[in-house]
């Protein structure tokens, strides 16, 4: 069995190699076989991730590596908590003494040897959080890549697609494996680039190009905040590494740097920044997470991103890339936990986003857009779970991330299957009653819907339940209890809406009279095995994964061995899980789901007259329009931000064109005018030039004679 280091390098390296291979050989050599390197590499990557998880589990079970034990006696490090390994491959950049040691430093009370040495190491880390993310990412990527073989089969950009997908898997695995904020930022941008490339995959289509641009620009705002957060971390902590650095010198271990999230700092919580500084850092990082994970107010790009191919929507804009923000917040949880204000803000944003997404999703007619808003809503749930700030909350958020990855990619791929059969039509008003024509898609979609709505015993039930439970427990403690109580209630309400829109989409697509749009042609049949196979595998995950982990507590125990999360567990004594409360929450949420399901069934299963009547009724208060118009965020941003900026740009353009250019032109006009005087000399007659030479000769002779 290969060791952890080899596996950790292989996981990103294989997709990178595949991406380069496909990019180089795709257009000429591979053509319709372009999926081979990508699928093979991603599948091997998945295999390596699974092996890595087993290795990590084994290492957790047999703790205390000798070196770490030896180190424990030195410096300020205590017995290491949790499990982590960091492998520094090489140093990308190093500037010694980039920043002086501040006299009054809030965070550190003594200066480690390398404080202020700016260095970017290509350092890969593995801890349970990373391992879990790696498995989720590579698993979904493998299935989506296989699915894409069928879905993209006659696209002219076939090789390009697989090259991008491999590049994305490389970036995403590096993102979750990097142990340095600069590296994290680099791959954060790189997944953003892949997202841009894949949203605009059909770049000839103006809408797709515009959507890609929008995603990139909106993410820019978030990334700006993220970058500022990284700068602030640097000035506060004097390093950007997550981990501590030790060197072996004369038989002793010397600690040269105290990582932002290193063991030393975790063992001494007073070394974390506190107060306004901590809030500022956390909120800036949250701004980055908002952009990447499509949280209010930066959520507007995600629905537009559905212009990309459906596998891309499933992989990048539902299962993996948009969860990078969740991962980042979970990774930096000690930084967030240092500021209660930041946690409350995270929770509030998450709660607003969850409700906003759910309400918008109810009235949308585009199947993929419904799923996009549901993704936004679910990402909101994850942030709500993280905002609890306890081990249980983070685990709940990550648990939801995992189950969501499965059922949402399942639903997206199912939608893609429908779209494939309908000849590219995805508007639910144009098709319906497809359950007979597409039985496999129908059944897998049903499982996905049940999982998403959180019906017992499907995966979504357990993860949603974990979030609700964490909120409930947090609400019973002091310090912002009211906020968490409110979040708890809004999530409960959201569960109803969730069930309604999920099953609305399901009934609209698969029930009612059979309607097939003319674009479908002879395509209106079940999709090929490369597409239905992944669907069925994902359905298995969406069905059983939650229950499995819930019964075995495997996920929770695994994640709890992450140092920064183990620290949380040590820090705050978890309130004793009351069995009664657990049951109460579960029953209440199930009741809510049933109510939502019933509403959807009544409104959409039979005649849809009642749905229309309800819509009219709601529109008395403008509620329907509000939801259908997506709360008019795009219009508001257009009016408040884009229009003034465009005006400013016009002004600048005018200034440039008339004032700056005018000055430059004036500068150019003078020599031109002067030269115009000599211009007749160049009249193109050789004799004239000869005459001019003779004149010069005469001048010379005159000088000689006189």
């Amino acid at each position: 069995m290969p060791d952890i280091r080899t596996l950790l390098i292989l996981i990103p390296a294989l997709p990178l190699a595949a991406s380069l291979t496909t990019a180089l050989l795709g257009p000429r050599l591979l053509r319709t076989r372009s999926h081979l390197p990508a699928v093979a590499a991603i599948a091997l990557s998945f295999l390596a991730s699974v092996l890595l998880v087993f290795q990590v589990q084994r290492a957790i079970d047999q703790p205390a590596a000798p070196a770490a034990e030896h180190r424990a006696g030195q410096g300020r490090a205590a017995q290491p908590i949790g499990f982590e390994r960091v492998y520094t491959l090489w140093s990308w950049a190093q500037v010694d003494q980039a920043m002086p040691w501040p006299d009054q430093n809030a965070a550190d009370t003594y200066q480690p040897a390398s404080w202020g040495n700016f260095r970017i190491d290509i350092a890969l880390r593995v801890d349970p959080l990373t391992a879990a993310m790696l498995v989720i990412v590579t698993c979904i990527s493998t299935l989506v890549a296989v699915y894409s073989i069928g879905y993209m089969h006659d696209d002219p950009g076939y090789w390009r697609f697989f090259s991008y997908i491999s590049l994305f898997v490389f970036s995403m695995t590096m993102l979750v494996a990097s142990s340095n904020f600069v590296l994290l930022y680099v791959f954060w941008e790189l997944v953003g680039l892949c997202s841009y490339l894949l949203i605009g995959f059909w770049f000839e289509k103006p809408a797709a190009a515009a959507a890609g641009k929008k995603a990139f620009l909106v993410n820019r705002i978030g990334d700006f905040g993220f970058a500022l957060g990284v700068f602030l971390l640097w000035t506060t902590y004097g390093t950007l590494d997550f981990h501590d650095t030790w060197i072996h010198f004369h038989h002793t271990w010397i600690q040269t740097s105290i990582g932002v999230l290193g063991q030393t700092r975790l063992a001494h919580p007073e070394m974390f920044a506190s107060g306004g500084l901590a809030t500022a850092i956390a909120l800036l990082l949250m701004l980055g997470a908002c952009g990447k994970s499509a949280q209010f107010p930066l959520h507007v790009w995600l629905p537009d991103a559905m212009e990309g191919p459906t596998p891309v929507s499933a992989l990048i804009h539902a299962a993996t890339m948009v969860t990078a923000g969740v991962y980042m917040v979970a990774r930096c949880m000690p930084l967030f936990a240092a500021s209660q204000t930041a946690l409350v803000v995270v929770g509030t944003l998450g709660g607003i986003t969850a409700l906003l997404g759910a309400i918008t999703a109810i009235t949308q007619t585009d199947l993929k857009r419904i799923l996009a808003y549901s993704t936004i809503s679910h990402l909101g749930y994850m942030f709500v779970g993280l905002s609890v700030g306890t081990l249980a909350g983070v685990v709940a958020g990550m648990f939801h991330l995992m189950t969501h990855a499965f059922f949402k990619s399942l639903l997206f791929l199912g939608a893609g299957s429908v779209m494939h059969a309908m000849g590219g039509v995805i508007d639910t008003r144009q098709f319906g009653g497809l359950r007979r024509r597409m039985p496999i898609t129908h059944w897998t979609f049903l499982i996905g819907c049940l999982a998403m709505a959180g019906v017992f015993p499907f995966a979504g039930f357990w993860s949603k339940d974990a979030i609700l439970l964490a909120l409930h427990q947090r609400a019973s403690l002091g310090g912002g209890a009211a906020v968490y109580q409110g979040l708890y209630l809004s999530v409960m309400l959201g569960v109803v809406l969730l069930a309604v829109y999920t099953f609305r989409a399901f009934f609209l697509t698969f029930y009612g009279p059979e309607r097939i749009p003319p674009e479908a042609g002879h395509h209106a049949h079940e999709s090929p095995i490369t597409m239905t196979g992944p669907l069925m595998l994902l359905a298995c995950g969406a069905f059983g994964l939650g229950a499995y982990f819930e019964w075995t507590h495997g996920f929770e125990h695994f994640l709890a061995a992450t140092p920064s999360l183990a620290y949380l567990g040590q820090r705050a004594a978890e309130p004793a899980g009351e069995a009664g409360a657990h049951w109460g929450v579960a029953v209440l949420s199930t009741v809510m789901v049933v109510i939502g399901l019933a509403i959807a069934a009544v409104l959409y299963l039979g005649s849809r007259e009642q749905a229309r009547r309800l819509a009219r009724l709601m529109n008395v208060f403008g509620l329907y329009s509000l939801s259908y118009g997506k709360f008019f965020f795009d219009e508001i941003y257009q009016a408040l931000i884009i229009a003034p900026l465009v005006g400013l740009a016009r002004l600048c353009a005018w200034f440039d064109q008339w004032l700056i250019d005018g000055l430059v032109d004036a500068g150019g006009a003078l020599p031109k005018w002067l030269g115009g005087g000599f211009r007749p000399a160049q009249n193109g007659l050789v004799q004239f030039y000869a005459l001019a030479m003779v004149l010069g000769l005469l001048v010379l002779m005159g000088a000689l004679v006189f």
């Binding site: 211009r679 007749p680 160049q682 009249n683 193109g684 007659l685 050789v686 004799q687 000869a690 003779v694």
Partner: protein, 149 residues
């Protein structure tokens, strides 16, 4: 005036005259080849002076320099004639003024004055003879035009 000095003086004067005549030819003539001939003529004037000075200084340098001038003139003639041929292929003329299209933009053209009628340029009439045999089928303008040379 001693013999050597008189010789030098006269040679220099003849060389100056050749130089001047060539100059006038170069400046006034428009036929590219005649212009080139004029330039060569100027070169000959210089050569004469060089040889004369060489003799006056009792040195072979002047003659050798003229030898090199001949070599360079041969190169020059080869390249220039090649270029003239190219120009002729392009324009169908040996007219230097034709290439004033290479002048600076927006500059007026050199206007060619209308050619005054010249006695000698009238086409010569063909002698009228009694027809002998079948009349050859010759175009009218060929019949009308008869070159002087």
């Amino acid at each position: 005036m001693p013999y050597e000095v008189a010789l030098l003086n006269n040679y220099l004067l003849v060389g100056a005259a050749l130089f001047g005549i060539g100059l006038v030819g170069f400046v006034s003539r428009r036929n590219l080849i005649v212009m080139f001939l004029s330039a060569e003529m100027m070169l000959q004037g210089v050569s004469l002076s060089l040889v004369a000075w060489g003799r006056f200084h009792n040195d072979f340098g002047g003659q050798l320099l003229v030898l090199f001038i001949i070599a360079v003139a041969a190169c020059e003639a080869a390249v220039a004639l090649a270029m003239i041929t190219m120009l002729f292929r392009r324009s169908g003329k040996l007219d230097a003024a034709h290439w004033q299209t290479l002048r600076e933009a927006n500059q007026p053209r050199f206007h060619e004055e209308p050619l005054p009628e010249e006695f000698g340029d009238q086409p010569l009439p063909w002698p009228r003879l009694t027809p002998a045999g079948i009349q050859p089928d010759v175009p009218r303008e060929k019949i009308d035009y008869r070159p002087k040379v």
